[in-house]
């Protein structure tokens, strides 16, 4: 292909699209470098991080219309990418608000720099359209996370947590790379849209051994399953959450889960579901996601029932939520736009109305999950003081008497997590389970319906441990042997928590605010427009 054409259709627009990430990353690099030479109070560093995020947000909204060529670019700016990056960037503000006073002055530049890198890395994952680039994004999240885990508080517990996370994380990255290598080796392509095109309209002409595709599938699922804390890759979550500061638990509960599912959508569901319903790969992928979803939900909820430590409880709860999201993945593997007989090209997805429901459910659920989980963790952060930390369920007993508004806010988050209408979490569960229920009409229907039933039963069991906290807050007297809570959260923390709670309510009453963009994003994730002629040549030449 003519390098000049490539420059104008792929490279330049890609750079424009990636401007927000580039901007945030450069500020992060400057901060981390300057931190070694100048001493400034913490406020300076947190404000510059906020400015970087705000600039990123501005640039992101300005570059919203830029598009890149799907089959040659490393980064996309389709609705999926734009919407996910917006959500991740906004959640970056919330994380920053919660984290702004969680570190001392000396380590502030590295701390906020790492935070910026994590946000930028997660945005790269959402935009990535290339196996290697996706991996870079994932690692750009992982490596600063190792740093952050150990930066804020340095003692043996955080050391243990950081070490565990480090070892298991690189192990999972190894699994993921192995899977990506198989994918590349089987198809000879690394552009994700091109892979989807090969799997779908082109029917993978050069796939002699479908087993290789299956191996790639299992390994990629394993590598990303670690990020989202799906069984059996979940072991680190409770230990690491418990051992690290609350703000890190909040970050770990959200960012890796989000990018994990975004990456699963990009690399697996969007690619594999492009194949026909009867293809071996689709059937096996559904089985794989089905097993992981069922086991993850059940194990997460069963273990959460036993926990008294809040961070462990939320670790298992986050595992359970990964299970619910996996239901959406199973549906997304199965539901794909079908191609009219005789055609190999796919332009408009409007002919069918349900092919995107699984992905839409995932995207909606992620937003709801971010709001309620970050909200709950934010309240724990706001309530904790060095002399009276909030660690266990008992620490919250009688909260409603002293701090009725805080208790109400936490109750809203917990009700939403339990999936009680009309809150954001309810609509998330509703979308995912109803998409599973209506996923198939053929003989596959019972399989999906059983999964939906397992999910509903699980969320019923899950309500127990959330409501236990609510009961404790409202009906039990405060523990007499502990000093009263005297929270003194700064305003950024308050704003962050208030935003989470408020949006949990707003999304609950007006789900369309999130579900409409989720739908367009989900549609764009599986859209495969007609490739430009030169690309077709190249694809067939391989």
């Amino acid at each position: 292909m003519d390098p000049n054409v490539l420059l104008t259709t792929a490279v330049k627009p890609s750079l424009v699209v990636l401007l927000p990430e580039i901007l945030i990353l450069s500020v992060a690099v400057v901060m981390m470098t300057a931190g070694a030479f100048v001493r400034q109070p913490r406020r300076v560093w947190s404000v510059s991080a906020a400015v970087a995020l705000a600039l990123g947000l501005l640039v992101l909204s300005l570059t919203g219309k830029t598009t890149t060529d799907l089959y040659t670019s490393v980064a996309l700016n389709d609705a999926f990418s734009h919407y996910s990056r917006l959500v991740l960037l906004l959640s970056g503000f919330i994380l920053l608000g919660l984290a702004h006073d969680q570190v001392d002055d000396a380590r502030a530049p590295e701390f906020f720099g790492s935070l910026l890198m994590i946000v930028a890395g997660s945005m790269l994952v959402a935009a990535a359209n290339e196996l290697v680039f996706l991996f870079v994004g994932l690692e750009l999240v992982s490596i600063p996370t190792y740093l952050l885990l150990y930066l804020a508080v340095r003692n043996t517990t955080t050391q243990e947590a950081a070490t565990k996370y480090f070892f298991l994380s690189i192990f999972s990255s190894g699994l993921l790379l192995y899977g990506l290598a198989y994918l590349y080796g089987t198809t000879g392509g690394s552009n994700l849209k091109a892979l989807a095109y090969l799997a779908g309209p082109a029917q993978l002409p050069n796939m002699p051994q479908p087993q290789f595709g299956l191996i790639a599938l299992v390994f990629i699922m394993a590598g990303l399953g670690f990020r989202v804390a799906a069984v059996p890759f979940h072991f680190y979550a409770p230990d690491v959450y418990e051992g690290s500061p609350t703000i890190m638990a909040a970050l770990l509960a959200w960012i890796p889960k989000a990018i994990g599912f975004l990456a699963i959508t990009r690399t697996l569901t969007a690619v594999i579901s492009a194949g026909s319903d009867s293809s071996l790969l689709v059937a096996k992928a559904v089985v794989l996601a089905w097993i992981i979803a069922a086991v993850t939900m059940t194990l997460g909820n069963a273990m959460a029932l036993l926990q008294d430590n809040l961070k462990r409880l939320f670790a298992y709860s986050s595992i359970a939520h990964a299970g619910y999201l996996m239901v959406g993945v199973a549906v997304a593997f199965y539901n794909a736009p079908t191609y009219a007989p005789g055609t190999t090209l796919y332009d408009a997805p409007a002919a069918q109305s349900d092919f995107f429901l699984g992905t839409e459910g995932i995207l909606f659920y992620l937003v709801a999950y971010a709001l309620m989980t970050l909200g709950a963790f934010g309240i724990f952060i706001a309530l904790s003081t060095p002399e009276r930390p909030v660690e266990t369920v008992d620490d919250l007993a009688g909260l409603a008497r002293e701090h009725p508004l805080t208790a109400l806010a936490l109750a809203i988050c917990l009700f939403s997590l339990a999936g009680i209408p009309p809150l954001a979490g309810f609509w998330g569960k509703f979308q995912i389970f109803s998409s599973a229920f209506g996923a198939a009409t053929t003989t596959d229907a019972p399989t999906f319906q059983l999964l939906a039933v397992i999910g509903v039963l699980n969320s019923a069991a899950g309500a127990y441990y959330y409501l236990r906290i609510v009961v404790g807050m409202y009906l039990r007297p405060p523990l007499s042997n502990r000093p009263p809570l005297q929270p003194r959260p700064a305003w950024p923390t308050r704003v962050a928590v208030a935003a989470c709670v408020l949006f949990t309510l707003i999304v609950g009453f007006f789900p369309n605010v999130v579900s409409a963009p989720s739908r367009t994003a989900a549609e764009s994730a599986v859209a495969l427009p007609r490739p430009l002629p030169p690309v077709v040549e190249e694809a067939s030449a391989r």
Partner: protein, 678 residues
């Protein structure tokens, strides 16, 4: 222009809501001025409604605002501005404005003054929303909204046990109806094209054609079920007479003019569906007829003025349903016009009668028992005249509002008797004659209430009345609530400088006078001129309804109606104007009948025994069952804990090499499954 107005239809519910909001926020400062934002809000929304009347058309809708769009379930916020809706809007906001003005005088001095007006504003918001909605789900939401407002307003003096009980009863009975309505919506959702429950889709010909006969009949029946509770029809009418425990303006607004007609509205809205189920239509007519007759019979002997009006409302709603039920084949258009016209005129004269009763109650120091006062026509001249105007309209005296609309209903019934499916005509013949009889009874009890209150020797209530003493004994029997009762009901709207036996202040009498004029002439203006019919013709789906080639005035029907009214009024004049002994002798002669009517046919007691008793028994049995279930549930609840504790917890041992090992084994396991097993 019409586009502009249609786009701003949201202002109609918005103004009263805004008024409510202001009252809630600024109650502390507004206190005795709390009625201002509400009166202004409702008046503004009347102005908007009035202009909307001009732009009405079968397919005029406001732009849809996406609200719920989840997995194939799509409920937009959208308003429909056709003839039916704009008629209801104009009527509701007009009557509500006058009633709010009246209430500002009536409720003066009540400690809950701001709360009262905030709730009234909320009610008007819900009611206008109900008639504006362009789909069944949104209608249902507002339907519940008016129910909640009614609950809170019936129980406005909630420290009074009877008011609290009445509110609870109203709410629970209405829930039974809501159940039917909800199932109707589920059914509509699953059976309609595109799962779209908007009126435009559901009532379109294509959709109605593709619905099976079972769906048509079932949905019609369920919708009517929902309507029977809201509009107080047999067997669910029992809540409405008790709802008179609320303040009188509430009875006038909610339980006479507007909310109780929501059921009639729903059926009228769904007429294109209903005309395809003639069995359900016959049921509607029969139930309406039964209700009208039963409650008119009860109204004959009641001594509580407000209760007479309450049973009369139930009876008149029965008339409306008779009208709706008469819409077979070619009568469909005439029938729905007649029913809606009666709804329209009834709103004016019944609101007037309630307000006039309220004015009597106000002047009599909150006594409403007709045995304790009489001959008030000289003391309360304005109340007397306005009540007389309302009474004439209710009785259907020639040329008054009620005459024209009742005449239309009788006409529709008469045509229905000829046009009905073979074998069904007999039902309509019976319904027609019972309707005439009921019209006669209506005139009689209206006259009775009027003459007992305003004619005869002048008498004001005194604490020494035997009825008052009996009531006091009753109160003591009912425990310590006596003082609270006084506080709630009597001191409720205190009489600052207002003495018993005096005419109400102008702020109350002016609305009465306006309504009185309406009650007399509104029928003449809208009925024979065809104005109403022409406007209602602009309703979605009505143009396809069957209609008669030409229907002029039927003199025979008119004569029957007039005769019934004049005979009823004349008889009541003979009996009550000069206190003849005949009624007492009749009551003695027909003692069982009299007692049955006086005790409302013991329907409440029967329900108490049959329904409430059975439910309680069921609850007892369930409680025993519950213990067994509880044990099982506990066992199941323990299972995951056991699974987590004994089965899974050991894996979480904190050793990173173990975690990595298990992860690797997990990958291997999944690989084996995917590659070789399934």
């Amino acid at each position: 222009m019409s586009q502009f107005l249609a786009h701003n239809a949201w202002l109609v519910p918005f103004f009263p809501l805004l008024g409510s909001f202001i009252v809630v926020v600024a109650a502390k400062w507004l206190r005795e001025q709390s009625h201002l934002p509400i009166v202004a809000g409702i008046a503004l929304s009347f102005l908007v409604s009035f202009s909307l009347w001009m732009v009405a058309g079968p397919d005029v809708t406001s732009p849809a605002i996406e609200w719920l769009t989840i997995s194939g379930f799509n409920v937009p916020i959208q308003f429909r501005l056709d003839g039916l809706t704009t008629m209801m809007l104009a009527m509701v906001t007009f009557v509500a404005t006058l009633i709010a003005v009246f209430a500002s005088g009536y409720m003066a001095g009540d400690p809950g003054y701001p709360r009262f007006f905030a709730l009234i504003g909320l009610f008007v918001f819900s009611m206008t929303g109900l008639v504006l909605s362009n789909n069944y789900v949104l209608t249902y939401l507002f339907w519940e909204g008016v129910g909640v407002c009614s609950y809170m307003l019936v129980g406005f003096w909630h420290s009074k046990p009877s008011a609290a009980a009445a509110a609870k009863k109203a709410f629970l009975v209405n829930r039974i109806g809501d159940f039917g309505f909800a199932i109707a919506i589920f059914w509509l959702w699953s059976a309609s094209i595109n799962h779209d429950v908007s009126y435009g889709n559901v009532l379109s010909r294509e959709n109605l054609d593709q619905l099976g006969p079972a769906a048509i009949m079932g949905i019609s029946f369920l919708l009517f079920w929902g309507a029977t509770a809201k509009s107080a029809q047999v067997p669910l009418y029992v809540w409405l007479p008790d709802a008179m425990e609320g303040p009188t303006p509430v009875s006038a607004l909610i339980h006479a003019a507007t909310m109780v007609t929501a059921g009639v509205y729903l059926i009228a809205r769904s007429t294109p569906l209903l005309v395809r189920a003639h069995e359900v239509q016959a049921l509607v007519a029969v139930i309406g007829c039964l209700t009208a007759l039963l409650s008119a019979t009860i109204a004959l002997t009641q001594t509580d003025l407000k209760r007479v009006m309450a049973y009369s409302t139930v009876s008149q709603l029965g008339f409306m349903f008779m009208g709706l039920g008469a819409g077979v084949n070619n009568v469909a258009q005439l029938a729905v016009f007649a029913a809606m016209f009666h709804l329209f005129t009834h709103a004016f004269f019944k609101a007037l009668l309630f307000l006039a009763s309220g004015s009597v109650m106000h002047a009599m120091g909150n006594v409403i028992d007709m045995r304790r006062f009489s001959g008030l026509r000289h003391r309360l001249p304005i109340t007397h005249l306005t009540f007389a105007a309302g009474g004439l309209a209710l009785a259907g005296f020639p040329l008054t509002a009620g005459f024209w609309s009742k005449d239309e209903i009788l006409l529709a019934l008469k045509h229905a008797a000829h046009q009905a499916e073979p074998g069904w005509g007999g039902i309509y013949v019976a319904v027609y004659w019972i309707a005439v009889l009921t019209a006669f009874m209506t005139a009689f009890y209206t006259g009775r209430a009027y003459f007992l209150t305003f004619w005869g020797p002048e008498k004001l209530p005194s604490p020494q009345d035997p009825e008052a003493l009996a009531e006091a004994v009753d109160e003591v029997d009912h425990g310590s609530s006596h003082t609270e009762h006084d506080h709630g009901h009597d001191a409720g709207h205190g009489h600052d400088g207002h003495h018993v036996g005096q005419e109400s202040p102008p702020i109350m009498t002016y609305p009465l006078m306006i309504l009185a004029v309406c009650a007399l002439i509104v029928g003449l203006i809208f009925g024979p001129t065809g104005l109403f019919e022409h406007h209602l013709h602009l309703t979605l789906g009505y143009e396809h309804l069957g209609h008669l080639e030409a229907h002029g005035a039927d003199w025979l029907v008119m004569l029957m109606g007039s005769l019934a009214a004049i005979l009823g009024l004349g008889l009541s004049y003979l009996f009550y104007a000069h206190r003849s002994p005949i009624p007492a002798q009749l009551a003695e002669r027909l003692r069982p009948l009299y007692l049955a009517s006086y005790n409302k046919f013991w329907i409440d007691e029967i329900y108490e025994k049959a329904v409430v008793g059975t439910t309680l028994l069921l609850a007892e049995i369930s409680a025993i069952f519950d213990m067994v279930i509880d044990a099982i549930v506990r066992g199941i609840a323990y299972l995951p804990r056991w699974l987590g504790g004994a089965g899974l917890a050991p894996f979480q041992n904190g050793l990173v090499q173990f975690y990595a090992g298990v992860t690797a084994m997990g990958v291997a396991f999944l690989l084996i499954i995917v590659l070789f097993w399934l």
